[in-house]
Point group: C2
Chain length 66, copies 2
């Protein structure tokens, strides 16, 4: 799973910490997702989608390895 969270965050002009607060997770969780360390739950993905005003598919994309 790839994601363009970093870009969306830049568009919204938010730090990792600010985004984490808005979504209700720790800063490290945001960092880990951006770094591709793990895949978030669907709840988290939907919260990000709501915040970004875009569908989940717009910033989370499946890869052949998934």
């Amino acid at each position: 799973m790839k994601n363009s969270l970093k870009v969306e965050r830049a568009i919204m002009d938010l730090t990792q910490g600010e985004l984490a607060d808005k979504i209700g997770v720790s800063r490290q969780t945001i960092h880990a997702i951006e770094a591709g360390k793990y895949v978030p739950s669907t709840v988290l993905a939907l919260k990000l989608a709501r915040l970004f005003g875009k569908p989940v598919e717009a910033f989370f994309m499946l890869e052949s390895t998934d």
Copy 2:
């Protein structure tokens, strides 16, 4: 998190087992998600979205408790 997986599955005319096979998870995982026992990963949600030809938001919806 609510979901209408059961409906989407009915539209596609698939059993829990068939859907599980197509997505690459166990039948119990499909059942548990339909029963609201737990929330799937974003990878799983995206695979379902691809299969159903609909965005994730079409069959997974946040609740006030999320």
